[in-house]
Symmetry: C2
Subunit: 338 residues, 2 copies
DNA sequence: TTGTAAGCGTTATCAA
DNA sequence: TTGATAACGCTTACAA
């Protein structure tokens, strides 16, 4: 590949390879004159040191491994975006592991990260099996997990205040006069998005001393739009129709909106809709979707920052967890109700 | 990092490191018994060879560098998705370079790819300066470029039939009876999306012997929704309003739709809208957007396949270019007109 | 079939 | 301040 190596540079500059290495790394003192001489050769030959050889001995590769289930999901791509914005300026590049949600692939990448002597790992949307746990216990790699937390693993996390977020959305609806609120939950195997967001809804309803009928909470089959569509159907076919629907994710909310649209309900007059995530589409829809804004770019940014802390930490320094507070993006899908 | 190395395995198995290496690589014949013995130690110790050391000598890293301007842009994230779906099963992992459109960052990653002895490069949405050209001429790395083409570079490309696509969309409008069509072009510095798509529009109009007034073609300031909004405003303020708007990208089309919606025009009754790309939102909008479907996942898939060909090619084998034909996604934003 | 030993291109250690 | 030289962990001739 590269014709030139450090040996050639040393020869051309009339010094030893050790000196060239010192110039390259800025380590230790080098006589300005020799330094100049070497630099000239380096520039003239366009020499660049082999990163593999470098990493082999120095044990540092300046690469961070990122593992996510799906890059074409906006939530993760924005996360990676935020990650990159803090890691790149600090000299780290990204090694991307896309798992498609398969545990087997997850474990494969975890091993690959070690094989390649990557400096640190960022995880988001990955499972937490016995095998994972085993890996986490054995490895010495710095790890940050985002959008979830691995209980008792000691792995620092960056997560969203999901409970507070849905509490916020529910309270907003309640303040607007809605009492009959239908909740479309995300699948409950997802603790953060499924369980926690439902919890925030229940909490707010309880605070207003409003009962939650069994039928008014529908658990969507998946995170897809179509599941929101189906769930909204169930909700609107109840004898007591809700005046507002709160969906655990924007995608699900959009499915619900489409059901309403397709069946002649006007939004928000006949039924208000509120979502969670604030994906890009939400502001583009007409009516635009009122939703809980989660800054996934920021989440990536913070995750990257935490990893940098782990990478540069002092022996006794502790890197804590981070919880990001969502906010409300008020748009046009919710109206007043008496 | 890894406590164990090949030496330890060799010692524990009572063989030489060369034998362990042979077992590891399946190269050359190894006595089944010794092989068994070694395998047992490998499994018992959970030994995994150091990829850096391996790459250093073998000159292969099983890593492909991917360079794109923005991962949070759906078009690129789907592209990466397609790429991964063909590269991962073939044993390659992705090294991701996000450039944010900065030439400086592009060049940095190009060098990084070489430093890290990456096996091949996939480029999409990158510029083509003198420096780039220089790099491409010097490097021996297999490269595939997608969504664009580097003239006279000899670099195989995978691209979309942009001219045919917009010709198709225009013809569709014409067949629906539209004669006064407003075209919102993407910025013209982008050859593929700006120039080529405009060309297809003009071609179709010419075939129908319809004149194109100067005002009926508006070049958007950017690829953003807001630019589509502004452009639609210009179009609808003309003395002769168009009965249909063709926007060079869905994002721009959505901006146009929002302008129409906000100003009391109903779609498609008052004005039809057609887009290009078929991003996810388009099917979610109400009315859903009729648009030219471009399969970016497929584009990534094909790019990956072409790179694999380059990586495994015979000395005299030629890897050609690929042009992907888009199709029409007919939805509800276009109506008949007399 | 197996082992010895020479690299791969760096950094790090120790003298000089 | 500089230069030999020994690692780093592996693959691969070449010998045995």
């Amino acid at each position: 590949m590269q014709e030139f190596n450090i040996k050639d540079v040393a020869r051309l500059a009339g010094v030893s390879i050790a000196t060239v290495s010192r110039v390259l790394n800025g380590t230790k003192r080098v006589n300005p004159e020799t330094r100049e001489k070497v630099m000239k050769v380096i520039e003239a030959t366009d020499f660049r040191p082999n990163a593999l050889a470098r990493g082999l001995i120095s044990k540092r590769t300046n690469v961070v491994g990122v593992m996510i289930p799906d890059i074409s999901n906006e939530i993760f791509s924005r996360f990676v975006n935020g990650l990159e914005s803090v890691l790149e300026p600090n000299g780290y590049s990204l090694f991307l592991g896309i798992t498609n949600g398969k545990e087997e692939t997850e474990l494969k990448y975890l091993q690959l990260f070690e094989d390649k002597q990557i400096d640190g790992i960022i995880l988001s949307g990955v499972s937490y099996s016995k095998n994972h746990k085993h890996f986490f216990q054995k490895t010495r790699m710095p790890i940050i997990v985002s959008g979830q937390q691995f209980r008792d693993s000691g792995i620092p996390f960056v997560n969203i205040e999901n409970v507070a977020g849905s509490h916020m959305a529910t309270t907003y609806l309640l303040n607007k006069g809605h009492k009959k609120i239908g909740y479309i939950s995300a699948p409950l195997f997802d603790i953060a998005v499924g369980v926690n967001r439902l919890e925030g809804f229940k909490k707010a309803m309880k605070e207003w001393q409003l009962p939650i009928s069994r039928q008014s909470v529908v658990v969507a089959d998946s995170f897809k739009t179509s599941s929101g569509y189906d769930a909204a159907k169930k909700l609107m076919e109840l004898s007591v129709k809700p005046t507002a629907i709160f969906a655990a994710t924007d995608r699900i909310a959009i499915g619900a909106m489409n059901y309403l649209y397709d069946n002649g309900y006007s939004i928000p007059e006949d039924c208000s809709v509120i979502g969670f995530d604030d994906i890009e589409v939400s502001s583009l829809l007409r009516p635009s979707l009122t939703t809980v804004n989660v800054d996934y770019v920021e989440s990536g940014f913070q995750s990257g920052k935490q990893l940098l802390k782990l990478l540069n930490r002092q022996p006794d320094e502790v890197v804590g967890d981070i919880l990001l507070m969502p906010s409300l993006s008020i748009r046009n899908s919710v109206s007043e109700r008496n």
